[in-house]
């Protein structure tokens, strides 16, 4: 482990949960990645859980571009903002009860709402993806991601046929005048 990593990581013991305290999410993000020359790191911040501290979301620009090319929302590594400038990295996504998948949340920064989700009674991120089956019309799927301790929870809020016009939840959360306008920063790795 190099010096930079030693600086960025500190492990503290909490009852029941062992969270890695991270002071430099970008450095943590790069661990294990062989970042191609010329690539960038995309970063955005927002207060997902409403605790007054911003979360940080990171992705490689090459992954983001590839996902966009495939009409997929990009996968983001989400660091939860904590006390004293420390962050904790979410580990997996709960897709079913008592089931954690080791995957990243897929969030489309251009179709994204950060704030109170009334359907769930809590704060989180609302985003969507569009499935394009070979047969039949394109289907929009609206998801919510909420922070649940050391991981995220994904809840499907709605499915609708794109051609039939925006779903009520799309209008509520993801319409241009309602969505969160995310500012992506490009960072040199």
């Amino acid at each position: 482990m190099n010096i930079r990593l030693l600086f960025s990581l500190a492990v503290i013991a909490l009852p029941g949960v062992a969270l890695a305290q991270i002071f430099d999410p970008v450095s943590d993000f790069k661990i294990g990645l062989a970042i191609p020359a010329g690539d960038k790191i995309l970063k955005w911040e927002c207060d997902v859980n409403g605790d007054g501290k911003n979360e940080t979301l990171l992705s490689l620009k090459s992954d983001y571009d590839k996902a966009s090319e495939n009409r997929d929302p990009a996968g983001w590594v989400l660091y939860v903002g904590g006390e004293a400038g420390a962050y904790s990295k979410t580990e997996g996504v709960e897709t079913e009860p008592e089931t954690i998948d080791s995957i990243l949340p897929d969030i489309d920064p251009e179709a994204c709402f950060v704030g109170q989700i009334t359907e769930l009674g809590k704060r989180g991120i609302v985003t969507m993806r569009i499935d394009n089956p070979r047969e039949g019309e394109s289907i929009g799927k609206i998801y919510a991601y909420t922070i649940e301790g050391d991981h995220l929870k994904r809840t499907e809020l709605a499915q609708y046929v794109i051609l039939q016009g925006p779903d009520a939840l799309f209008t509520k959360y993801l319409a241009d005048d309602k969505r969160t306008h995310v500012q992506l920063q490009e960072l040199a790795p």
Binding site: N70, V77, G92, V93, D106, G140
Partner: protein, 831 residues
């Protein structure tokens, strides 16, 4: 005289109402007009023979007997020999007429004068002679009714028809009683007894064919024939006059005291009386006649009614038929030309439709395309190749036709696919209307709508030259064996050809969101392009010479270097007398493909895939599932679309696989998606053929890589075996990448077990199959795998069950549930 101004080219085609019955079964019209039934098109090269010219006969050697009229009422006759006009002279200084020409170009006619000793004689123009040979009657008729008693006898002969073997038929006053008959028909109330004769070549003593006999009291017995047409076997048709019952009606003043004995008029075939007017006889002996309102086609065993109309001529066109013993024989079903309409003045052709066993009419005037600039007026003759002599007036759309009558020659153009190597399986390709082009000021959307409808019409099989799926060695596919020729073209007429095949990728379907991925290799020129990439024509060829396109070196090179090709075939014809190269094709049709036999396709796939990709057949089954059916049953391993349309096509399509439907062209999946705004976008070049190979960059102008990172090569679009080979090569690439992912996953998630099976596929095979289709919709691993965040069909899962943590692998289907679909095809019982 050299040629008059040549040449215009037009399309002649039947209206749908007239010809639809002769086409393959039509599909209902789609809402946007796409999918309408194609019109059958007969293509003609039209040669303008000039003003005031009327074609009388068209010989099988392509020569034409012409009459040119002059304002003073006089006429001259010409023999047109492939662009050269030979004036027919008699050197006798009197009136000469030409009536008939045989298939060697020999012409007979009539010379007349008012002299009392010889008022009629036959004329004969040998094929190589422009000056007529006069043939006088061998009979010296006395007393000469036109001269004082005791003076010179009368010579009177009349040629009426000539057979292909050179026998000449006509009539003579022959002293058969030496007196006159009275006739109520034939333009006179009196005349001398006449008999019908046949002259052999050399014009020695003619053979007497009829036995009309006069008598001193001017009554007569027997009959004689006025033969108008003769075939090569000597069968003749015409009219006959038989002695009727004498009456006391007044007689001409210079034969006082005589009675009228009118002739009874009737039609004759070989001298036998028939109850209709026989007008022409084919080489096979069939006779076309007129009953007074309708047309009848006669042969010795039966008379068949063709329909309302007045016939002019017929030819000896044949069709292959089974003789009842399993042998294919050529059976004559002549083409007929004539007139329809209340006034019997509408030039029309009748063609035998072998599928329906009946004749179908085509009104030529309605059939001429807007660009033809001709309005048909009259018809003269049709030869056995279907070459039609006619008259027409020039017309400009929207204005009345010019009053000047022009003689025209209509030379049918034929494209043949020698798929049977010269036997009955050969296919005469029927032409289609050309590909629509964008009109000045027309919006792209309006243009695409028209052109999409053109590409997506239900083309008749007859208008498609098919790539055969198994005619090549070891059941490999084979390109059509195309041959072009001008039917009935005279040897003297020279032509140049060129052939172009053009394919617009995506089967030509275009919409606002559709990008054009067409590559340069999709356009094939035969002969190959000259300097600067400009099209070039062949050297001069005799017009009756076949252009064997499929044997030309450029055709062979094209296939060898870049593989099979298809699309819209466009044939161009250039005559040396034309100053400019033609810019519009004279004949358009489609080159498409037929699907491989499922058993043979499966064999080839299994052989190509080997044990490593044992499941490759299931991918092909899924990719072609539902795209073609036979008798309602699903058919697999399809490279090409058929008549089958499993849903709305074109703009109305909801299935990506039907958007670009075009009969005979490759199965094509238009890879598209809707954005959040509902607008469609294209997502790459789309997939082709058995394996729906989706190769290359996302946009047409993006830089290409190699292998599947390059745009799919043409050969994989048109050759089902190349498509399979390409798929196996791609699977190999995917297998390498899949193994890297598998190993990386297990390294990054070491606490998890080995990958399980997914259905019938191993964990690794499931990755290969997923990679083959794409990673859209897959989640990203939350740990770096092989140095990167990976979209993966396998992701690590942790489950808490009763306080126990269990680590398993979760299989994620991609956006199209591809692995699930392939698994479903693995256990199918169909091959």
């Amino acid at each position: 005289m050299k040629s008059f101004a040549i040449v215009s080219v037009f399309w002649a085609f039947s209206s749908p109402a007239l010809f639809a019955q002769c086409e393959d079964q039509a599909q209902p019209l789609a809402a946007n007009g796409a999918g309408q039934t194609a019109q059958h098109k007969t293509r003609f090269l039209v040669i303008d023979l000039g003003a005031d010219v009327e074609p009388l006969r068209v010989a099988n050697n392509g020569w034409v007997l012409l009459q040119k009229s002059f304002p003073n009422g006089s006429a001259k006759y010409y023999r047109w020999k492939g662009g050269t006009f030979e004036e027919l002279k008699d050197h006798l200084g009197q009136s000469a007429y030409a009536f008939d020409m045989n298939d060697s170009g020999a012409i007979i006619g009539l010379w007349s004068q008012t002299a009392p000793t010889e008022n009629l004689a036959g004329l004969y123009w040998a094929p190589g002679a422009s000056v007529a040979q006069k043939v006088s009657s061998p009979f010296q008729v006395l007393p000469n009714p036109y001269a004082p008693a005791g003076t010179a006898p009368l010579l009177h002969a009349n040629f009426t028809a000539i057979s292909s073997s050179g026998e000449v038929f006509g009539m003579c006053y022959d002293n058969s009683g030496g007196t006159y008959l009275s006739s109520a028909v034939g333009g006179g109330q009196f005349g001398l007894v006449t008999n019908t004769y046949r002259w052999a070549s050399g014009f020695g003593a003619p053979a007497q064919l009829t036995t009309a006999q006069g008598s001193p009291n001017h009554s007569w017995t027997g009959e004689f024939w006025a033969i108008s047409r003769v075939n090569g076997a000597g069968r003749h048709v015409g009219s006959k006059r038989t002695a009727g019952t004498a009456t006391d009606a007044p007689v001409p003043p210079f034969f006082p005291g005589d009675k009228i004995q009118p002739a009874v008029y009737a039609g004759e075939i070989d001298g036998q009386t028939v109850a209709f007017a026989p007008l022409d006889v084919s080489q096979g002996g069939k006779v076309i006649g007129w009953t007074g309102s309708r047309m009848a086609l006669w042969n010795p065993s039966q008379t068949t009614e063709i329909g309302a109309g007045y016939p002019v001529a017929l030819n000896a066109k044949t069709f292959p038929e089974d003789d009842g013993g399993g042998n294919t024989i050529q059976v004559e079903h002549p083409q007929i030309i004539g007139y329809t309409g209340d006034s019997l003045n509408i030039p029309t052709t009748w063609d035998y439709c072998p599928d329906q066993h009946r004749y179908v009419a085509t009104i030529l005037d309605e059939a001429i395309s807007e660009s033809a600039n001709w309005r048909m007026v009259s018809l003269g003759d049709i030869n056995d190749s279907g070459l039609i002599g006619a008259t027409a007036r020039r017309r400009i759309i929207g204005t009345p036709a010019d009053s000047t009558l022009h003689g025209l020659l209509l030379l049918p153009i034929e494209i043949k696919d020698l798929r049977g190597n010269g036997d009955g399986d050969d296919q005469i390709v029927q032409g289609m209307e050309g590909v629509p082009t964008q009109r000045p000021g027309e919006s792209n959307q309006a243009f695409w709508l028209r052109r999409n409808a053109y590409f997506q019409q239900q083309v008749s099989d007859k208008s498609i030259a098919y790539i055969d799926p198994h005619r090549g060695g070891n059941n490999s596919p084979d390109m059509p064996h195309l041959v072009a020729r001008l039917l009935g073209g005279p040897t003297e007429l020279k032509v140049k050809w060129r052939f172009e095949v053009e394919y617009l990728r995506g089967n030509g379907y275009r919409a606002d969101y559709v990008e054009d991925f067409t590559r340069p290799e999709d356009k094939v020129l035969i002969p190959a392009t000259g300097q600067g990439g400009n099209p070039v024509f062949t050297g001069e060829m005799d017009s009756n010479q076949e252009w064997r396109i499929f044997e030309s070196q450029d055709w062979l090179n094209e296939i060898q270097q870049r593989g099979f090709f298809g699309g819209t075939g466009k044939l161009y014809l250039w005559m040396p007398s034309q100053q400019d190269e033609p810019t519009e094709p004279i004949f358009s049709f489609r080159i498409g493909g037929k699907n491989p036999d499922p058993q043979l396709a499966r064999q080839f796939i299994d052989q190509s895939a080997g044990a490593q990709f044992w499941y490759a057949y299931a991918i092909a089954r899924h990719e072609t599932f539902g795209r073609a059916r036979v008798n309602g049953q699903i058919r697999y391993y399809n490279q090409f679309y058929t008549d089958e349309r499993g849903g709305p096509i074109g703009d109305a399509s909801v299935d990506m696989g039907w958007a670009g439907w075009a009969k005979g062209w490759p199965l094509y999946n238009l890879d598209r998606f809707r954005g959040r705004d509902g607008i469609r976008h294209q997502n790459g070049a789309g997939g082709y053929g058995v394996y729906q190979l989706t190769w290359g960059p996302k946009h047409p102008n993006d830089a290409q890589g190699t292998g599947s990172n390059a745009f799919i090569p043409r050969k994989m679009v048109w050759n089902w075996q190349d498509n399979v080979t390409g798929a196996i090569a791609e699977l190999q690439v995917k297998a390498t990448a899949a193994a890297v992912l598998r190993d990386g996953l297990q390294a990054s998630y070491p606490q998890w077990p080995a990958l399980p099976n997914e259905g019938q596929l191993s964990g690794l095979e499931a990755i290969v199959v997923t990679f083959y289709n794409g990673t859209e919709g897959l989640p990203s691993t939350d740990r770096p795998v092989n140095g990167a965040i990976r979209r993966s069909c396998w992701t690590a899962r942790t489950q808490t069950q009763g306080g126990t943590t269990v680590r398993v692998w979760r299989f994620n289907q991609n956006e199209r549930n591809y692995v699930q679909s392939v698994n479903a095809r693995i256990n199918n019982t169909m091959p």
